[in-house]
């Protein structure tokens, strides 16, 4: 099956296959015959057979579906959009965010609040940065728009907490400095594509 089939959302143009349900019984005699046919063909017992087979499979052939959730977790997709993370530069350990404000501007839920100021070197510094996760819809626009790959989505999806402010501060989202070597790039929205090097062309100097 190709991906095209799933991408086609024009409902009604696909080739639906009608199941052959047989003829509707027209009168009582035909209805009666249908009941007899179904009972004698033992269709009901096929159902029993299927459930029993599934039970044997589950019990003895290791096909149990249950995931014991808090103890076992299913792997999530790399592009999954959960609680945001702020990344650091690998070389200096400084946070990547340059305070451009694009994420604040694009956020459709209007839930990013940030402020910047000049630090002692007259460089822009992020003085305040929070995301109100009560309003965030996890659309991923902020990660997509960020020019520095600074704000990305992480994989933390267990986000119940007693405080609205949990997870939401800049420091909470920032990679801890001692975990810098474990910092992983986010392959989702806005990330550099794996073949990015090949796609880059030299800009000609002469016109």
């Amino acid at each position: 099956m190709s991906l095209e089939q799933f991408k086609n959302r024009n409902v009604g143009t696909q080739n639906y296959v009608m199941l052959d349900l047989g003829k509707e019984p027209a009168n009582n005699w035909e209805k009666f015959k249908q009941v007899v046919r179904r009972s004698v063909k033992l269709e009901l017992f096929t159902g029993l057979k299927v459930t029993f087979r599934e039970m044997i499979k589950a019990l003895f052939m290791g096909e149990m579906h249950t995931v014991k959730y808090p103890f076992e977790k299913l792997p999530i997709a790399p592009r999954y959009r959960a609680i945001h993370e702020m990344k650091r530069l690998l070389e200096s350990g400084h946070y990547r965010c340059i305070g451009c404000g694009l994420c604040e501007k694009i956020c459709i839920a209007n839930c990013i609040r940030m402020d910047t100021r000049y630090d002692e070197n007259q460089r822009k510094e992020v003085s305040e940065y929070t995301i109100n996760f009560g309003r965030c819809i996890f659309c991923g626009y902020c990660a997509e728009v960020c020019p520095e790959l600074a704000i990305v989505h992480g994989g933390r999806y267990e986000v119940s907490s007693e405080q609205r402010a949990s997870f939401a501060l800049f420091e909470d989202m920032l990679t801890p400095i001692d975990k810098l070597t474990e910092q992983k790039e986010y392959p989702g929205f806005g990330a550099v594509s794996p073949d990015a090097d090949k796609k880059i062309k030299k800009t000609p100097l002469a016109y």
Binding site: V35, L48, T51, E54, E63, M64, K68
Partner: protein
């Protein structure tokens, strides 16, 4: 005579304790079997393999608020669950559960009352049990409860007829209404089981039994998708639990009845002693109920009535007539 009374009381208490414990265990088994058939694990966390789940559920049911809705008829609302549970246990009184055995030199017959109309008594008691859901539904001032009660009336009343007619043919062959006589009629090994002589009656009896115990495919009384919880909508805590103990006890009773009447009862089965044989048979019939619940969809009320009055009842009548003719010739 004193010994007889004391013995009967001891037997009654023992049966009450064991069967209600088994009924509780039945809920655990049901959840486990249904889970396995859907490739799930079922209860796992309370005790090893979730075995103590019944205990946890019991504690929960006992400590829950005993809630009576306003506008409900308080008295009837309160006694309705007791009717279901009590009749279910009373029905068991006339059922011989195991073969006779000797303990401390006393010969014990594991039946509380060997009535000469045993089977009639059991069926009558189970039929009386329908007052439980019926009154519960009517008393609770809730439209879903009322619908559940209406369904109780149509379902149980019609299936009572089929049960009676289906079991009439075996009764004619055995010539007695005592369940012990049924058992003694089938002493000659598997070949003498009544199921071979009365296969149709067996099938009819099982279908009617499922309808009477309110099991899938005939669980119309409290079908969540249609009537919320039917007659049990407003019930909570132990009153609700009593309906369930009643239902599971009825399942066990139907299992015993079917084994005694059609499947050779507690006669030794090859090398298997009689006591174990009947436990195996009842266990299988109980498992069959769970299995069918996992596999089959339930029917609509109109289909149920159609099946009962237009298919099963004529078949039962034909069966009785044929049995009579064969016995005359």
């Amino acid at each position: 005579m004193d010994g007889y009374i004391i013995g009967t009381i001891i037997k009654a208490i023992l049966i009450l304790a064991i069967i209600s414990a088994l009924a509780g265990f039945g809920t655990y088994l049901e959840r486990k079997v249904l889970a396995f058939m859907q490739r799930r694990l079922g209860p796992m966390h309370v005790g090893p393999y979730g075995l103590l789940q019944i205990l946890a559920d019991g504690i929960k049911l006992f400590t829950k608020e005993d809630f009576i809705p306003s506008h409900a008829n308080r008295l009837i609302f309160m006694i309705a669950p007791a009717i279901t549970a009590a009749t279910a246990f009373i029905a068991l009184a006339a059922v011989p559960l195991l073969p006779e055995f000797t303990i401390f030199g006393v010969k014990v017959r594991p039946i509380v009352a060997d009535l000469n109309i045993g089977i009639l008594f059991v069926l009558g008691m189970m039929a009386a049990g329908l007052y439980g859901p019926l009154l519960a539904g009517l008393a609770q001032h809730n439209k879903w409860g009322l619908l559940g009660a209406a369904r109780t009336a149509v379902q149980f009343l019609s299936y009572e007829v089929v049960t009676g007619l289906a079991i009439l043919a075996p009764i004619m062959m055995v010539g007695s209404l005592s369940l012990i006589d049924f058992n003694n009629y089938q002493t000659g090994g598997i070949g003498s089981w009544l199921i071979w002589k009365q296969p149709l009656a067996f099938i009819l009896f099982m279908i009617a039994g499922y309808a009477e115990t309110n099991r899938t495919p005939f669980d119309l009384l409290e079908h969540e998708a249609e009537v919320v919880s039917g007659y049990a909508t407003e019930y909570s805590g132990m009153r609700w639990g009593m309906f369930f103990i009643g239902e599971y006890t009825n399942m066990i009773t139907i299992g015993f009845l079917a084994s005694l009447v059609f499947l050779g009862g507690f006669n030794p089965w090859g090398f298997i002693p009689g006591g174990l044989a009947i436990i195996l048979k009842v266990s299988f019939l109980f498992f069959l109920m769970l299995w069918i619940r996992a596999a089959w969809p339930h029917v609509r009320p109109d289909q149920l009535m159609w099946l009962c009055w237009k298919v099963l009842m004529p078949l039962a009548v034909i069966n009785v007539t044929l049995t009579g003719l064969v016995m005359m010739v």
